[in-house]
Symmetry: C2
Subunit: 369 residues, 2 copies
């Protein structure tokens, strides 16, 4: 590529999962090189299907198509409506219709161009079409770049539960261009930063400090700070996934803030908060629960809330009756039997799984806000 | 079990697939022991969901529920309409609704009680619910007992193609009671025999001979002959699956008769023939194609047709224009790029993959009937 030399260097992290291994490629401006990259993976294929949505497609679909065309691809497209409320079996079914119409074979790839919803649905469609075809993630939101595009968790929502219908299906490549974040609404940028901060809370106190120190640079999309944030986030996510691909144990640490966060999303019918915002609220609650149970030192919650405030994230816990909270958490899909599972912290940078939190402590925590 | 000693011995074949290994248990009368068997696999679970259909449930659901109850299970049920035309995303979605309603956790099993359609849909629902929960196959048709319940291929149909939406998802146990075949319509019994005979054609001339010699005993449901037929079929299926779990190569041999067979099913809108019947017709065509291309000796097709006639299977190839055949085969999901793939025979007991059959030869074959 003649343009490659003008771009900043790529950061590449290799997800090692045996026959399911793949590269996570991070490089400002790399969106225009995606056609050649996908061609290297599938030298013999001719067709592909780009799945995107009504917001992202007008911004980036032409560039992606141009790049694909330049690499000899016959690129079909499937444009979905935008928003979590369309993350349904029906929308997923439309992607399958598009795959049938384009007559993609078992060895031709699906490309997911968009945020987490597009990636989850396109990935789940790829998992099921002809019992599994390859796919490539081209995440365009920060949340997708630091989390959902990596690791192979795909899904759609059921009317009674988020991500209840899905598959573990790894992509063949994750292609991340941080420059696309320029068109991302501020609120979504901040929700993505919350998700990145989570890795610091779970397993890397130094990375949490980096986020504290670089908060302004990150909000201003400084190229170096943002590339490092994405790379380190992908590295953490990948290390956790490599240790526990199908979420039998350690991977569950990534659900820090999710037990409360999913409950908040469910109780507000996924209308009030972005996923990353709800998880930030849930993480705040998990921090206080950790302190109250004597696991984490005093001040843990305060320090987290301070960073969230600097990043412009919501920190006020919504008021619902304790029974509503518990009911919403009872539906959480990570539960074993009827116990509620929490991810708690011993300190910033050291999370663990707690299966044995008494309901009474949860009720008292809820009442404390 | 007090009743166990009164039953004929079990034939057990172990499918070895590393962490996805499981037993295929064949034993007349074992339907009443399924609760205890599933309990041994999941000692800590409390709930399960039995998926069946309107034809099978009145015959066997009470016995299965009784057995489950006796082993301490809280058994929920989901009864589907009967028939291939209901093998759709919509019906699959109903199973997911039932799973949500029963609040099954990630470690509680789905039980598929029925033929191939029930097994395929229940298995695909288990593959997708919470990104994958365990399931057990309790096949009640011969076709399902000798083929579809073993090997982990799950799917539903798309309006434009059979089994186009699915997953590779292995069961945790296959529990086969040959006595349930007593309630199976003759026509379905025969279609199942055709599928068993296929293993002989692909890789075991002795097994083909066994079917020729025992044709009457099999049609009369002789316990010894039928148990041997099912066991040997499961062994063949399992050996092929173990060598090639996700159908990258050798497993494609199982598609003997399927390229033409699927075309026949598609052209007749899945109304005229049972799947096993269509595959028998397709196998006849594959035999003649093998002879015409000089791969198989003369008389191969004749010997196959003779056995099919004894088993009461259809042998007359339906008349459609060659373009309709080729169009219908072009949709076949096993194709790579635009080439049509066939499974052909060198002799009875020795099948192979042919990717390079000229379209002209296919047209001449079609014209020859």
């Amino acid at each position: 590529m003649t343009t490659a030399s003008q771009k900043p260097d790529a950061h590449i992290y290799r997800m090692e999962l045996g026959p399911r291994s793949y590269d996570i490629h991070i490089q400002p401006g790399c969106l225009d090189d995606v056609g050649a990259a996908v061609r290297r993976l599938f030298p013999e294929a001719s067709r592909c299907l780009v799945v995107s949505n009504e917001v992202v497609a007008p911004l980036y679909l032409d560039r992606v198509r141009e790049s694909l065309k330049g690499a000899g691809w016959e690129a079909h497209a499937c444009i979905l409506p935008d928003g979590e409320r369309y993350k349904t079996v029906d929308t997923w079914s439309r992607i399958l219709d598009a795959l049938m119409e384009a007559r993609l074979t078992r060895r031709e790839p699906v490309l997911a161009l968009g945020g987490g919803v597009v990636g989850d649905m396109a990935g789940f469609a790829a998992a099921c079409y002809r019992r599994g075809v390859p796919y490539v993630q081209i995440p365009t939101t920060l949340l997708a770049q630091v989390d959902s595009s990596v690791g192979g968790k795909t899904a759609v929502n059921h009317p009674h539960g988020k991500n209840m219908i899905g598959a573990f299906w790894q992509p063949k490549l994750v292609w991340i261009d941080p420059e696309v974040l320029r068109t991302l609404p501020q609120r979504e940028l901040r929700a993505g930063l919350a998700e990145a901060v989570k890795y610091g809370l779970i397993r890397d106190a130094g990375f949490f400090r980096f986020a504290e120190e670089q908060a302004d640079a990150l909000l201003n999309l400084d190229a170096d700070a943002m590339s490092r944030l994405i790379y380190e986030s992908c590295r953490h996510k990948a290390e956790i996934v490599m240790a526990d691909e199908t979420e039998q144990g350690m991977r569950a640490l990534l659900n820090l803030g999710h037990t409360f966060g999913h409950a908040i999303e469910a109780m507000t019918h996924y209308q009030a908060w972005l996923h990353g915002e709800a998880v930030a609220l849930g993480t705040r609650m998990a921090a206080r629960l950790s302190e109250r149970l004597g696991h984490a030192p005093e001040g843990t919650e305060t320090r987290i809330v301070a960073l969230y405030r600097r990043l412009g994230l919501p920190v006020d816990i919504p008021a619902f009756p304790a029974d509503a909270w518990l009911d919403a958490m009872g539906h959480d899909k990570k539960n074993i039997s009827d116990a509620i599972r929490f991810v708690l912290m011993r300190s910033i940078g050291d999370a663990f799984i707690a299966d044995d939190v008494p309901e009474e402590d949860v009720r008292e925590l809820i009442a404390s806000y």
